[in-house]
């Protein structure tokens, strides 16, 4: 790339596609793209432009959030280039996309080549896997294990570790004095001042919901970091209460009687009583206190509070508030303490088991990248990654979490700072789709990157054309989000609606697609008869669940029938709301797939297999036993009685089997055997179970139960499931469907705000918190202005996210959008309950935006409240691509191979050495474990080494001790050489042994000679200690004698069986020797020499 960067270059690389001749553009671009506006397309185009401008691929870091998206980017980058190389038309398209400058196919090819050459260093991936790479490169610095087990919070593994950590943590708490009390208080508080039975789950909830916050801000200083004025001292308090008695005088009199108004008197009495009783929360909820100005407006029962009274109450109120806050701060510290303790144990456990969560990587990197010394960090990282990032391409930027941003910011600001036009930041996203707030994802980062030095507000643009949705759908979206501030339902969302509105621009369809939108009310009760012909059956089967879901199920069923083969996305706000709907759908026989698929045990065959495995773990589980017995599996595993003893025997066999061959092998075997008893779907699911088993085999434990848990918690796409998919809106992000159904639009949006345990107070979502504390309740909030502000901020954040969630949901469909809300309710006087239009709920919001009148909104429901477009959109154009792959399309696959006719194995012979053949291949643990060794280790080998030196003893002299010693030094340095040599000398004096070492007219002598001989399908290999060979005149071998030295002592009693023991081995030797020499094994005689006992025994193996 030329050092000087001219305008042409800039224009060609960064310019708008529309005006190649336009003004010099900034190399940076921040694009706010609406849903369906083709973010990926933008990003890949930018990538190709950079590539064309000469940027080397490893220096272009392109990240996104889902693996799917990452795959798409790769596909679009490489695929587009390849196509352009082959087809003139594609080339022309690409040329236009890249700014209209002439682009030859030769140039395409060279670009492609450059990509391919650095394929292994391409930096296009999910942000997680990039961080994974980065963290790996900094393994030592971050203190990561060399071979970590990566998993996520949801996995059974990490749950197990969490629970262990909690147990340990509880242990500590009990050990420490007062620890127990703190815990109890904390838990009571968690459950709104009740003592729930289960504590472990409660603590796990804390661990899951608060741990991230703790890890981000462990500094105790930040927690409970407020000082509202201190409570009064006891005596001061006494005064401030008692001395106020007289204030009672100032209470307003009732006009008629002239007596003090009873309601006032009572309220005041109660106030003082509660104050005395120290029931401060109660004090704050006292009517008079609530009425205090300014917040309370200063009126009680429409009468102004007298000044004296206000004066009287003020200190008590202040004290009450202070005390409650005090209480709250105490709990906050306790919470911090609890989390800190948990953290300690959790970390230890995870390090011990080498378990890493993706969030850990991000977190560690974020911590490691110091704000002060970014450069050092980057240069080290670049060095380790073998590439400097000079171009940054960020997709779905609004989902970037603070932790992630802490890392990314480094790259971004470094690049932005250098304005040489050879580096660039490109980010594309949509604040309106920022729905990961609860995970730390935060749209404000978007604003921050726009303010980055060097980037300031340059090259901002936005895309509002939708390449996904029909105009009909977009019109509805425009109508709902076009004027939020005017929507009465959003009245008390404060700034949120306006803020959000600021990001919104009218949406437009790029393609002309048919569409249909409906707002429809469900039934409140008894409503489902109309929809399903099955009512009586269901009643008989006693199906009882919420009519809203039952009605919805019916609605979806008929929709599915109306648009066969088209994908339908049923999007939920909360995952758990899906359960009743899924159930209702299945009762209607609608085959749905859940988020990311279903557990494989949604077919009974798999369930039975799991029961068998559960039985292996719990032999006394009669239920599992019964299930197995009464399924085709019972026969297979040989279980036919519920008797615990038999079950136990089978269980034992199963566990051994699973351990020896692995889960996948065993289940695969079963699957083959069971095929005939399964239908196709069960069979496919069983095959998938085998896949899951493979993952488990890698590092499964001893407990079969763990496998069952793992399987039950794993979601696997079921190829035979219908195109109706039920999932959370969060999971649907980045997906699109032909039709979308939104059945969970009711329920107040702020209903759960109180559920949050902590209030994280920060000026703006990207600033570090100024204070973290247990969330105060309404009464208290209303009392303390600062708290009110903080809470308002938190709430606003939440509302913004609520709007985004609805936006994401409504922008998923290509053609049809079905909004289902419960019917309006009416008072006896027939007046509509106004919550249906004023509530802070999606339902109300929609009723408002679409101007649904009470008349259109019958109490019995089942009415269409709003409708546009063509219900029959699906009929005319049925794109084949939208069809789900028909199952069985690749019918049964049968294969058979030829039998192997080779006389001897073609390969992979079973190996054996004669010494291992001794006693028919049987051996003893003691020998294997070296517990039997006599004379210590290496003794045997030392002896053999020395005998190797001895030729025909009657002809050659034996080497002297020095020579022998030096030999020993080499083979067995650890043994006592002198002792060995002494032993040898003694042995050589034994006549029998000398005799065995003589020539006896033999022609040839082998010593310690290794051999390798194929014999009856085995490969015999080993070493002859000593062999004498007699040859005929022609030099052909005629006879041989093999001698085998035994160094272990034996007493005479056992000599016979000892010899018998060795017979197998000697037989092996004889076969080997005979084969080698090409003589008959009868011509081979063998002798065992027991050196220790000086005995020589001829062995006849034919007996």
């Amino acid at each position: 790339m030329t050092p000087h960067v001219g305008d042409d270059f800039l224009r060609q690389t960064y310019g708008k596609t529309t005006d190649p001749a336009g003004a010099t553009p900034s190399p940076h671009a921040v694009i706010r793209a609406s849903a369906g506006a083709g973010k990926t397309y933008q990003l890949t185009t930018r990538y190709l432009r950079l590539l064309r401008a000469g940027a080397s691929p490893p220096t272009i870091l392109a990240t996104t959030f889902t693996r799917k998206a990452a795959g798409e980017i790769l596909q679009r980058v490489l695929g587009r280039l390849a196509k352009a190389c082959r087809s003139e038309e594609e080339r022309a398209k690409l040329e236009a996309d890249l700014g209209g400058f002439p682009l030859s196919s030769a140039e395409c090819l060279s670009m492609l080549r450059r990509l391919v050459e650095t394929l292994h260093r391409l930096a296009i991936s999910t942000i997680d896997s990039f961080f994974n790479r980065a963290a790996g490169a900094l393994r030592f610095e971050l203190g990561l294990p060399a071979d970590p087990r990566l998993t996520d919070e949801g996995s059974p593994l990490s749950r197990r570790l969490r629970l262990e950590a909690i147990q340990a943590q509880l242990g500590d708490a009990l050990a420490s004095d007062g620890g127990l009390q703190t815990l109890i208080e904390l838990l009571r508080r968690l459950h709104h001042d009740t003592t729930q039975r289960s504590v472990t789950d409660a603590l796990d909830t804390i661990a899951q919901s608060l741990y991230d916050i703790y890890r981000q801000y462990p500094d105790p200083e930040l927690w409970a970091n407020v000082d509202y004025h201190k409570p009064l001292g006891p005596e001061l308090l006494a005064i401030s209460i008692e001395s106020r008695e007289l204030a009672a005088a100032s209470l307003p009199k009732a006009k008629r009687t002239g007596k003090t108004d009873g309601r006032w008197a009572e309220a005041y009495r109660q106030l003082l009583e509660r104050a005395r009783g120290g029931m401060y929360e109660a004090v704050l909820s006292n009517g008079l206190v609530k009425a205090m100005p300014p917040a309370g407006g200063g009126k009680y029962y429409r009468i102004m509070l007298p000044e004296e009274l206000i004066e009287a109450i003020r200190p008590i109120k202040a004290h009450a508030a202070a005390s409650v806050v005090h209480d709250l701060l105490g709990q906050t510290r306790a919470t911090h303490q609890l989390l800190a303790g948990f953290h300690g144990h959790y970390e230890r456990l995870r390090r011990r088991e080498r378990v890493l969560l993706f969030s850990d990587l991000t977190h560690l990197l974020a911590r490691y990248a110091p704000d002060d010394d970014q450069d050092a960090f980057l240069s080290e990282l670049y060095y380790r990654l073998d590439a400097q990032v000079t171009h940054l391409l960020l997709d779905e930027f609004q989902d970037t979490s603070l932790d992630q941003w802490d890392v990314i910011r480094g790259f971004a600001s470094e690049i932005a700072a250098v304005g040489d036009g050879q580096r660039s930041v490109f980010c594309v996203g949509d604040v309106k789709q920022a729905i990961y707030g609860w995970r730390g994802g935060c749209a404000e980062i978007f604003d921050e990157i726009e303010r980055l030095p060097g980037l300031e507000d340059k090259a901002l643009s936005s895309l509002t054309k939708s390449y996904r949705s029909s105009q009909v759908v977009l019109d509805l979206v425009n109508r709902v989000f076009g004027d939020l501030p005017a929507n009465a339902a959003l009245a008390d969302t404060g700034a949120a609606a306006n803020l959000w509105q600021g990001y919104y621009q009218k949406h437009q369809a790029a393609k002309d697609l048919p569409g249909h939108v409906v707002l429809h009310s469900t039934r409140s009760s008894g409503g489902k008869a109309a929809l399903t012909g099955r009512r009586d059956e269901d009643a008989a089967l006693g199906l009882d669940s919420d009519p809203h879901w039952v009605y919805t199920a019916g609605y979806i069923e008929s929709l599915h029938q109306a648009i066969p083969g088209r994908s339908i996305g049923v999007l939920m706000r909360r995952r758990k709301s899906a359960a009743p709907l899924l159930h209702a759908l299945r009762n209607l026989g609608v085959d749905v797939s859940e988020e990311g698929g279903n557990p494989v045990d949604n077919v009974p065959a798999v369930a039975a297999v799991l029961s068998a495995i559960r039985l292996a773990d719990h032999p006394a589980d009669a239920a599992a036993a019964y299930h197995v017995i009464n399924s085709p599996l019972g026969h297979l595993v040989g279980l036919d009685s519920r008797n615990e003893r038999d079950a136990a025997a089978v269980a034992g066999r199963l566990r051994r089997d699973l351990m020896d061959h692995g889960y996948s092998a065993v289940i695969a075997r079963w699957t083959r055997a069971l095929a005939g008893s399964c239908d196709e779907r069960s069979l496919r699911r069983l095959q998938q179970l085998v896949e899951l088993a493979e993952q488990h085999d890698a590092d499964g434990g001893l407990r079969p139960g763990q496998f069952v848990d793992a399987v039950r918690s794993a979601r696997v796409e079921d190829p035979s499931a219908a195109p109706v998919r039920v999932m959370t809106i969060h999971a649907a992000k980045g997906l699109e469907f032909d039709a979308v159904v939104l059945p969970e639009l009711h329920g107040r949006l702020n209903a759960n705000d109180q559920r949050d345990l902590l209030l994280v107070d920060r000026p703006s979502p990207i600033d570090p918190p100024t204070n973290i504390m247990r969330r105060p309740n309404k009464v208290l909030t209303a009392t303390i202005a600062d708290l009110e502000l903080a809470m308002a901020r938190a709430a606003a954040e939440q509302r913004g996210e609520d709007l985004s969630l609805l936006y994401v949901a409504m922008t998923r469909p290509r053609h049809a959008l079905h909004l289902l809300v419960p019917p309006a309710t009416y008072s006896d006087k027939g007046k509509q309950n106004k919550t249906h239009v004023s509530d802070l709920s999606y339902a109300a919001m929609l009723r408002q935006a679409l101007g649904v009148s009470a008349e259109q909104d019958p109490a019995e429901g089942g009415a269409t409240l709003y409708e546009r477009g063509d219900a029959a959109w699906a009929k005319p154009t049925l794109s084949p691509l939208a069809k789900a792959p028909a199952i069985g399309h690749d019918a049964l696959f049968k294969i058979e191979l030829a039998q192997s006719h080779a006389a001897v194995p073609r390969r992979s012979w079973a190996e054996a050495s004669p010494s291992k053949l001794s006693s028919g291949g049987h051996t003893h643990a003691a020998d294997l474990l070296g517990l039997g060794e006599t004379g210590g280790l290496g003794w045997g080998s030392a002896i053999h080494a020395l005998y190797e030196q001895i030729g025909f003893i009657d002809e050659q002299p034996i080497p002297d001790d020095r020579a022998l010693a030096s030999i020993l030094q080499g083979v067995a340095p650890s043994v006592d050489g002198a002792a060995v040599i002494a032993a040898i000398r003694r042995q050589l004096d034994v006549p029998a042994i000398r005799e065995a070492l003589m020539r006896h007219g033999a022609d040839e002598l082998w010593r310690e000679r290794s051999f390798l001989v194929p014999a009856d399908g085995r490969l015999l290999r080993g070493q002859f200690d000593r062999v004498l060979i007699w040859r005929d005149s022609g030099g052909a071998a005629v006879r041989a004698r093999l001698i085998d030295f035994k160094t272990d002592r034996i007493d005479y009693a056992t000599l016979a069986d000892r010899v018998a023991d060795y017979r197998g081995q000697i037989a092996g030797y004889r076969v080997a020797l005979a084969t080698m020499l090409g003589i008959h094994s009868d011509a081979v005689e063998a002798a065992l020499v027991f050196l220790g006992d000086g005995r020589v025994v001829a062995v006849d193996t034919d007996r």
């Binding site: 795959g71 492609l112 005939g676 030829a898 000679r1009």
Partner: protein
């Protein structure tokens, strides 16, 4: 390969069958094995003396002298080097260690130090291949970042060498350096380099010291590629960089998921066989990355025999797993660890034998029974008393406690007996060996026995490690506890596979690098993706590619060249090699094709990229490898009537029937028990029982009339503590302790309520009153049983029949007993417990006028109170009618169909009743007689 064997025997370096003087160097262990096979077969009757065959890894050792001047101890073994490094680290000052790892292990945490030592060792090994010592990196490496770290390593390395030297020992890499620098290279044998083209600098240096005529490289590609190799047969990087493997695009397939890659293999096999018959032992499958298990399983599902050439990791062998579990128990002594251990099949056998020995009976009958109930008992024990630490003191009834104690003692006998808890590593060898011996020593093990085999090989490996431990010099041995010693043994086993049994013809699965010398006529290679092939060296962050270049270490370019060469060879020595590459990993991570596949002329390159990244190809469903049957035979077992008809029921059983007749059948007719040992705290039932037991004290004379809540609360508290420790012992799980306090808290409010009732004039009449009522239904007698928690009497208000409820929510009798059915606004009975109490009470002369109700102790103590059930006579007689209805149905054996709505809590019957089934309604229909599911 066969040619190589023939060549060695006939032309060879020295013709004839005595190859003892020949050293053959091969790329990998499989080639090593294969060569010997071929030699043996080729040399039958020729008195073959096999050559020494080593892998490249083993070459250096062969060319070095045994002893070195000034280092009498010779070269330090792997274990010694490793342990030495560990102790250097452990003794080093923290500041130094922190340069290596921000969170150093604790002083005593040897496993921690070992793994750190291993990482350091790896760096040393990689450098060693390039003839470098860690100390020399800083000098050699331009623009080295992280200098401080290397300084630290340098310092540690010096200490390491010094520590070895004290023992007269020498580090391997150091030794190689000496050998080369001082020209000590020795080798009596003729060296034949057989396709050993992946030569490292150290190899070249050593080899070049040998006289030329002592060296014979054998190359494996056609002569045309002669310049592709140097004089040692090592590959020439530059040459291969711009060579393209001769890939035939028709044999190159791109598919999506791992299963699809496996399927592609099957398709290849099928095609080959149709082309000309081929048998399993003529097929090899090359495995890139981690696809081995998937491919193997798919082959097996399709009914084809498969064998992994690499074998199974020794760490997963039975003996290894046993040691692991044993160590875990020795270390933490938790109930879970014991439960794990006892589920190891060999431990189960062992315990069984122990029991038999104790019982002195040879036929294991009673013993087998025992084993069954041991695990059963263990589970029951866990459910009753929760899992805490195993103290050796077993709670509960003797018939449970005693057998468990026996089991536990048997297990304890596997642990090292008395003696110091921490000892020098070597001194643990014997205890470890003996533990294994106790379990496996009782009978001879068959080497050629299908199941024993793996155990034998594993024990052999472990035995090797143990004797190695005994051999270790005293001052290398860290002082550790038993668990850590076991961890050491297991560590030493890592990377040592247990080969699978040979003999039977099977399709073999082989790692990519081992394929080079494979001589099977048919070959398919899967997993040809970046990151898998070329195989990345175990990524070492301290030595990025740029550093490698500076240091003259082989880097990515080398690996690419090497694998191109390998692929070229594979393709050229047989026709039609099927190459498979996947688009996604198992976890959905997008993959890219291997650069090997993209090393091609322009057109081919473009074509392949276009094919790989082709958009909009619908994913095909995975192959269906087996033929399904006519119908699915996995059904909900239909109730059989071969059980004696019930003549008695507990009051609570009626609710079960009303909830679901089928589940009633499972629970009350078949009496299927279900429990599991996963409870970490008191479940609802246990929690309730504690409360009930404690509340009984209220009946004691001095409390019956006690009006002072404080006093009552105190007694309740004391009683609670008593029953609690009776149930959970003195060392209960922490969670339970917490629950105890919660319960105590609730009981305080119960005390207030009790005092209140006393004040109102109520007196306890009975508590825990066992009741039994014989009723007539259709003239037939039927018995209803139950236990009434408490009956109060009042001088003028009569009787109150009370049931204690500790449910969190504190529901009213109305809520629990009556509910609306969907679509109707009228309520109906869902539970009959309280009404039926009237039947029981009647036996004690308490009239139907008595008031029924719950004494609720909910989580919200404010709601602690007696909640009466105001049911009028009409409703009650409705209940009684329903009672009779249920009795009739039970008698008639009406237990079908199951309710469609499964219970919200896990009652253990979910699997039997197909709760999770996608098409449950359908299955229920098919399971009934006449349903097409029943043959």
């Amino acid at each position: 390969m066969p040619r190589a064997a023939a060549w060695l025997l006939d032309e060879g370096v020295k013709a004839g069958a005595d190859l003892s003087g020949v050293l053959v160097v091969v790329p990998g262990s499989r080639a090593q094995r294969r060569l010997l096979e071929l030699l043996a077969v080729a040399a039958v009757g020729r008195a073959l003396v096999p050559p020494t065959v080593v892998t490249l890894g083993g070459l250096a050792g062969r060319l070095m002298p045994r002893v070195f001047e000034g280092y009498p101890g010779g070269v330090a073994g792997e274990a010694e080097a490793w342990l030495t490094r560990a102790s250097v680290l452990q003794e080093a000052e923290r500041s130094l260690i922190e340069k290596l790892s921000p969170i150093p292990p604790d002083a005593e945490d040897w496993p921690g130090w070992w793994s750190l030592a291993r990482q350091w060792g790896d760096v040393a090994d990689e450098l060693g291949a390039g003839l470098l010592l860690p100390g020399e990196v800083r000098g050699r490496c331009a623009a080295l970042v992280g200098d401080a770290r290397w300084q630290a390593i340098e310092a540690l390395d010096q200490r390491y060498h010094a520590m070895l030297a004290e023992r007269g020992r020498l580090d391997t890499h150091h030794a190689r350096r000496l050998t080369i620098e001082e020209g000590l290279v020795t080798c009596e044998q003729q060296v034949v380099l057989l396709a050993a083209m992946d030569l490292m600098p150290v190899h070249r240096a050593l080899l070049s010291a040998l006289p030329v005529d002592q060296l014979t490289p054998l190359i494996f590609t056609p002569a045309e590629h002669a310049e592709g190799f140097d004089r040692f047969g090592g590959l020439v990087e530059a040459y291969w960089r711009d060579r393209h493997p001769p890939i035939d695009d028709r044999e190159l397939v791109f598919v999506d998921r791992p299963v699809d890659q496996a399927a592609a293999v099957l398709r290849a096999c099928k095609a080959w066989h149709e082309d000309q018959p081929v048998s399993a032992d003529q097929i090899t499958i090359g495995i890139g990355g981690t696809l081995g298990p998937t491919v193997r399983r798919t082959l097996e599902l399709a009914g084809l025999p498969a064998r992994s050439a690499t074998g199974q990791p020794a760490q997963r062998s039975r003996p290894a797993l046993l040691l692991q579990a044993l160590a875990a128990y020795a270390e933490r002594g938790r109930f879970d660890d014991l439960a794990n251990l006892l589920r190891h099949p060999d431990v189960e056998d062992f315990v069984q034998r122990a029991a038999r020995a104790e019982a002195g009976s040879d036929d294991g009958s009673d013993a087998t029974q025992a084993v069954g109930s041991w695990l059963g008992l263990l589970d029951r024990y866990a459910t009753d008393h929760l899992r805490g630490r195993v103290t050796g003191h077993w709670l509960g009834k003797p018939e449970v406690a005693e057998p468990l104690k026996r089991v536990h003692d048997a297990v304890l006998s596997l642990l090292p007996g008395n003696g110091p808890r921490r000892r020098p590593l070597g001194e643990w060898a014997r205890p470890i060996g003996e533990a294994l011996h106790r379990v496996y020593g009782h009978r001879p093990l068959g080497r050629f026995d299908e199941t024993d085999r793996a155990v034998v090989l594993a024990l052999e490996l472990i035995g090797g490690v143990l004797s190695e431990m005994l051999e270790l010099a005293k001052d290398v041995q860290p002082t550790t506890g038993f668990p850590q010693a076991v961890r050491y043994v297991l560590e030493r086993l890592s990377g040592r596979p247990i080969p699978e049994p040979g003999g039977e013809p099977a399709i073999e699965l082989v790692g990519f690098l081992e394929l080079l010398l494979d001589d099977a006529p048919r070959l398919a290679v899967v997993g040809l993706n970046e990151g898998a092939v070329p195989e990345p060296t175990r990524f070492n962050p301290l030595l990025p590619d740029s550093a490698r270049r500076d240091l003259g270490l082989p880097g990515d370019a080398h690996r690419l060249a090497r694998d191109k060469l390998a692929l070229t060879a594979m393709l050229q020595c047989r026709k039609g090699v099927r190459l498979v590459s996947g688009r996604y990993a198992a976890d959905g991570e997008p993959l890219m094709p291997s650069r090997l596949l993209l090393s091609a002329e322009d057109e081919a390159l473009v074509g392949r990229v276009a094919r790989f990244f082709d958009e909009g190809v619908p994913a095909e469903p995975p192959l269906l490898l087996l033929s399904p049957g006519p119908r699915d035979r996995f059904l909900i077992p239909y109730p059989t009537l071969d059980h004696p008809t019930l003549t008695r029921l507990r009051v609570t059983a009626f609710r079960d029937y009303l909830a679901c007749p089928y589940r009633f059948y499972l629970r009350h007719v078949l009496r299927l028990s279900f429990f599991d040992d996963r409870e970490v705290e008191l479940n609802a039932a246990a929690f309730g029982n504690l409360a009930h037991d404690a509340l009984q004290v209220l009946a004691l004379p001095h409390l019956r009339e006690q009006g002072d809540a404080e006093v009552v609360a105190e007694h309740l508290g004391m009683e609670l503590d008593r029953v609690f420790s009776e149930k959970l012992g003195d060392d209960p799980p922490a969670a339970a302790r917490l629950q105890l306090e919660n319960l105590r808290y609730r009981l305080r409010f119960a005390a207030v309520e009790h005092a209140q009732m006393v004040a109102e004039g109520w007196r306890i009449g009975h508590t825990e009153l066992p009741g039994k009522a014989d009723i007539l239904v259709d003239g037939e007698p039927f018995t209803i049983t139950g236990k009434i928690d408490r009956i109060d009497t009042h001088p003028n208000l009569g009787h109150r029949i009370i049931d204690y409820k500790t449910g969190d929510r504190g529901k009213s009798p109305q809520q629990t007993h009556r509910a609306k059915a969907l679509g109707s606004d009228t309520k109906h009975w869902t539970d009959l417990q309280l009404p039926l109490y009237l039947d029981l009470a009647a036996e004690h002369g308490i009239g139907r006028g008595a008031e029924l109700g719950y004494f609720n102790l909910p989580k919200n103590e404010q709601d602690t109170r007696f909640v009466g059930a105001a049911w009028d006579e009409a409703l009650l007689s409705e209940a009684m009618a329903l009672r009779d209805e249920v009795v009739r149905k039970v008698r008639a054996g009406v237990f079908w169909p199951p309710k469609l709505e499964p219970p919200r809590f896990d009652d253990g019957f979910a699997a039997i009743a197909a709760d999770h089934a996608a098409d449950r309604a359908g299955i229920i229909q098919r399971s009934a007689p006449g349903g097409e599911g029943v043959a």
